[in-house]
Amino acid sequence: MTSTAQDLHPAPVLEPGRTILELRGLEKRYPGTHALKPVNLAFKSGEIHAIVGENGAGKSTLIKLLTGVMPRTSGEVIWEGQPAALATPHEAMALGINAVHQEVVLCRHLTVAANMFLGEENSRFGILQQRAMVKEAQKIIDDLGFDLPAHVTLGDLTIGQQQLIAAARATVRGTKFLIFDEPTAYLTRKEADQLFTLIRRLKGEGVTIIYISHRMEEVFELADRVSVLRDGTLVGTRNIAETNDAELVKMMINRSIEQVYHKEHFTPGAAIIEARNLSGKGFENVSMTVRAGEIVGLYGLIGAGRSEFVTTLYGRHRKSAGQILWEGKDVQVNSEHDAIKLGMALAPESRRDQGLCLNLPVGLNLNLPIYKRISKNLLISSAQEKTQADRQIADLRIKTPTRGALASSLSGGNQQKIVIGKWLAHGAKLFIFDEPTVGVDVGTKAEIYRLFGALLSKGAGIILISSYLPEVYELADTLHVFRRGKLVATHGFRAASHEDILTQALAEKQEKLGGQI
């Protein structure tokens, strides 16, 4: 690194294998819930310690306690042999505890360099040394092998690239204990590899890494040890060499899933929608058909044009050329309203930005697309409003105290169930799911996949967009591969190998993602 980072902060001198942080009976209660039951756990310096568990198992709570975002209810945290209060984020950072969150918490309007040095700006006589900071930031980024420019505005980068910057930022601050919360959720495989390289390097320098992920293969690829949380209880800790996928899943959900990827095959019926040589912003000349009873998977890197293609089908963006046929008839889809009227439903990529009204009740979110149906002359039937919402909550097993609870109070997986669930009562024919299982645990994933089966059995068609290859691979009857706005390959169910599909999505292996900016 590191001459640069070391100049900024002396590298942490840590004996590998020594206990750096110990939790003794750490506990957190919220009004009404016991989010974390007393946990005893010791983290060693220079280890990568994975923490897995379903949504709501207490992982986020644990992070919040360790980073000083929330006070603990009881128990002790021993940092390098001394009790630490961890009452404020500032205290945690001063000790050397940092976190990289799933959603990037940086300033999108500032440059990459400004973000890297946010709070520790380099200034002389009160004047920011902008050029020096850009230079230094660039050196750090280059050194990490990220191949990203330091002078551009952060918001101009993809979410994955922003995530890498967030990780880089955390490493230059004398960090001894670094928490990654689901860092690869929005990363492409290549970006993820860059991140893993960084993580291994930090480990080599004696930094303790907490790695939280739903992706088992990442856990096995990276971690030395893994701890499993379930319902706020630490179920156990294993050395990675002494455990396997099946054991961890069983510990997490306390029941064995025969098959997470629950796939039902139906004989495809008539075509629901057909795109003929469709072009628009971000994609060109795409043709495909979705028939009743089938899942059409769209695989590719983030930015390959998949989301732009479906949002154009959905009327969010205008097509520039080509035709859309709905049940064999040529249609113009000029707005989301048109699309919904035809019978399309879209569960968008970003829950927070596009999917949910977070500060409104669960019930309102669930009923949003169907208010027209449950009201008479503008006035809403409150009885129907209640029964509809309660039925969805029960059918989808959404964990919420009541339909009146705010959507923001639910865990990520349950929020995702709302995003999907609001379309079930609406009765659409074509469902478009854009990254439906990002940040969702195994149990919820299985529930969502089973939901797909239920929709197909009712004669609906599904377009499934995913950056997670096993997901589209195991579920899609037809798999289309996108690269740079073009549909480059089409495969039947499990008809091609993972390697082939990856190669098609990536094309030239040395292609520089950063070069596109």
Binding site: L346, G355, L356, N359, L364, L378, L379, D390, T402, R403
Partner: protein, 321 residues
């Protein structure tokens, strides 16, 4: 699940009701204190006067609340009131029947609101800017139309309305009820009311769920303009003149009433009863301060302090949940 859901739902309902009751208690407390502290407060005359004072801000605050729930703001309402007094006065003096004059004035309010919607939706202007622009230009247009003079309204039937009462309650207060009940049904029991909340919470999610976001925004500003024009008609009747510089600063009083009534300036939180109570709390403070011979400068300071205190405690309780 569902039985449990019903059991746990009560706290939330209670919270909204509780906040309303707290405001009501504050209002009653103020009335009791002022009745004890002054001899003139509890007189029928003063109460009627208080109700008249509060009514107009209350109606404006309801329209303003619709806009704030969508995450916007309408700074133009004070100017719309002033402009509406001019329109209605000129039409009545020109010999048009009163009902027609009122109708046209209301339509002018609707048109101004539509223009705001157009500026926000089609031109992409921030609500603050477009309504600030109409605030200044409407005053200017009104001054051009009147050459800067006041217009004395020559219809007694029109002006008598604001002085009269119906079964002991001033007509102006009846107007609050006339606006308040449909507004309540609209906001809390109609589809479009729900859409105001959903757009204020997340416009993109609403759009993707099939909500017509543009129409919802048009609607909010149109209703706000309509309420303001209606208040302009009432004000013209009350003071008997049309003058474009009337109702200076009323937009801030309307916003203050709305915020005191629990509306969140971040959008998606608000009610109809809240701003109504907020408006009458403000009116009571002004009225009481006059009776107690408190320097009118103090009234402004008290109002400011009250906004900070109420919004702070409301925020505390929301976060405390």
């Amino acid at each position: 699940m569902s039985t449990e859901a019903i059991a746990v739902e009560k706290p939330k309902r209670n919270y909204n009701v509780l906040f309303g009751l707290t405001l009501l208690a504050l209002l009653v407390l103020l009335w009791i204190l002022l009745s004890v502290a002054t001899t003139s407060f509890a007189s029928a005359n003063n109460i009627a006067n208080l109700l008249r004072q509060g009514s107009m801000i209350a109606i404006m605050a309801v329209g303003q609340t619709f806009v704030i729930i969508t995450g916007g703001i309408d700074l133009s309402v004070g100017a719309v009131v002033g402009f509406a007094t001019v329109v209605v006065a000129m039409m009545i003096n020109a010999g048009f029947p009163i009902w027609l004059a009122i109708l046209v004035t209301l339509l002018v309010g609707v048109a101004i609101g539509m223009f705001h919607g157009f500026g926000i939706v089609k031109m992409g202007l921030p609500p603050f800017i477009i309504t600030l622009a109409t605030l200044t230009s409407l005053r200017g247009i009104g001054l051009l139309m009147t050459n800067g003079n006041s217009i004395n309204i020559n219809s007694d039937t029109f002006t008598a309305f604001s002085r009269n009462s119906f079964i002991g309650i001033p007509n102006l207060f009846w107007m609050v009820i006339l606006v308040g009940i449909p507004a309540y049904v609209f906001l809390h029991h109609s589809r479009w009311g729900r859409y105001l909340f959903s757009v204020g919470s997340n416009a993109e999610a609403s759009r993707l769920s099939g909500v017509n976001v543009q129409r919802t925004i048009y609607m909010a500003y149109t209703l706000s303009g309509l309420c303001a024009a209606f208040v302009g008609v009432l004000l013209a009747a009350r003071i008997g003149i049309g003058n474009p510089t009337q109702a200076e600063g009323w937009e801030l009083q309307a916003i203050a009433s709305s915020v005191i009534g629990g509306t969140s300036l971040f959008g998606a939180v608000g009610s109809v009863h809240g701003p109504l109570l907020g408006a009458f709390i403000l009116a009571t403070i002004n009225n009481g301060a006059n009776l107690l011979n408190v320097n009118s400068f103090w009234q402004r300071i008290i109002t400011g302090a009250l906004i900070i205190i109420i919004v702070y405690f409301d925020g505390l309780r929301r976060r405390g949940k």
